[in-house]
């Protein structure tokens, strides 16, 4: 599908700039040009498609549905899928969280949403397709959704309601009056320009991270020797997965910046499962997210939340390494 891009990169670097295909610089520059263009195309397409899905996604109806129906455990799964579909914006996570809890949805189900929402997002998916291919992306998305399902179910087993912030508890007690909302009736063509603009905005926002990430990746690709990491990290020792995950939790790297670097790790010998676990911990849990959540829950609850998810990610890292 992207053959023409590779031809273009070959032509640009080897013919126009006349940098030899056998030099480190030539290889690194070729990799950089090819990957940057490929990723930007993928990013725009996927963000655009998700923009359309989001414009029509009936959040309120889904909330009511989850609340009314007895789903025998499937509600965790649905909530997790919902988290995967909603856009990647931590600022909307907290209002959605409160909206859910307020709508009478159990805390565990709400957590399923909260886990998957940052974990599976359109930017990460686009980067993954570009760098690891469709199969690895499917594994990432499916395991992200399962992780949210299981994590939420586990957290639902604890009695966590008392650990919410006081003002959230107050909201839960007094049913607040609903502000009036004018229903929108607009056609697809009326919405199309703003969906396109929204997609451009997201691509523009991550552009810098993509370029930096791919530049670092390209530099490593050309200069780091084969199997460099397997000598230290990739040997499959049992402690490599927890180490990768625990290092990654406090980190807040934009998915756009981290995937190209991880791709080189994998190319140089780190097992894919360890890399996926690292990626999940980086985008799924972070210090800024904890700061946001502090407004709605106590530190103890955040600690429980982060520990359970960290454990789940470590376990899934082992599972990937066995399966892949």
């Amino acid at each position: 599908m992207f053959d023409w891009l590779q031809h273009f990169a070959d032509w640009l670097i080897y013919s126009v700039f006349e940098i030899g295909a056998e030099t480190h610089l030539g290889v690194a520059l070729n990799f950089f040009v090819y990957d940057t263009l490929k990723i930007l195309i993928l990013l725009f397409v996927i963000v655009f498609i998700m923009g359309i899905v989001n414009a029509y996604f009936p959040i309120e109806r889904l909330k009511d549905y989850l609340n009314r129906k007895k789903l025998y455990g499937l509600e965790y799964f649905f909530s997790s899928i919902f988290g995967a579909i909603t856009p990647f914006c931590s600022c909307s996570s907290v209002p959605l969280f409160i909206g859910f809890v307020q709508g009478g949805i159990p805390l565990g189900v709400t957590f399923s949403f909260l886990i998957t929402s940052p974990l599976v997002n359109e930017v990460a998916v686009a980067m993954f397709i570009g760098m690891f291919g469709v199969k690895a992306t499917l594994i990432y998305v499916v395991s992200g959704i399962l992780l949210g399902t299981i994590g939420g179910w586990l957290l639902g087993k604890f009695n966590l309601e008392p650990l919410l912030s006081d003002w959230v508890k107050q909201i839960l007690e007094n049913k607040m009056q609903q502000a009036k909302f004018q229903e929108e009736h607009r056609t697809f063509y009326q919405r199309l320009p703003e969906i396109t603009n929204g997609a451009w905005d997201i691509v523009k926002n991550v552009l810098l991270y993509v370029i930096i990430g791919i530049a670092i990746g390209a530099a490593m690709h050309g200069y780091v020797p084969e199997n460099f990491f397997s000598a230290y990290l990739g040997g499959g020792e049992w402690w490599t997965v927890p180490l990768a995950v625990i290092v990654a939790v406090p980190m807040y790297a934009n998915a756009a910046g981290i995937v190209p670097v991880i791709q080189v790790f994998v190319a140089k010998g780190v097992p894919l499962g360890t890399a996926i676990a690292f990626m999940m911990a980086t985008v799924g849990l972070s210090i800024p997210e904890a700061t946001l959540l502090k407004k709605v829950m106590s530190i103890k609850l955040i600690a429980i939340f982060f520990s359970v998810i960290t454990l789940c990610i470590i376990l899934s890292g082992y599972v990937f390494n066995i399966l892949l």
Binding site: E60, C89, V94, L292
Partner: protein, 78 residues
């Protein structure tokens, strides 16, 4: 009568672009309105919105979860 416009958002990029759009529309068309930016999550939740940014005109939520175009805002204000 002066309109009261409230923009609900915790300060993410989308909320900022909504604020800019609304400010532009109000000043370009000389609309008599006060613009109030609500950034406190507790205040935002009083409006019961689940997606930000949201645009509230005279206590009616008109837009939530996306950045509107200038034309759209102008229509809502007239």
């Amino acid at each position: 009568m002066s309109k009261v416009i409230k923009i609900l958002g915790t300060g993410c990029p989308k909320c900022k672009s909504m604020t800019n759009v609304v400010k532009d529309v109000v000043s370009e068309n000389n609309i008599d309105a006060t613009i109030d930016k609500v950034e406190d999550i507790m205040e935002i939740m009083k409006f019961n919105v689940m997606t930000t940014p949201a645009l509230v005109i005279d206590d009616v939520i008109t837009i939530k979860g996306r950045v509107p175009s200038k034309d759209e805002v102008l229509k809502l204000l007239n």
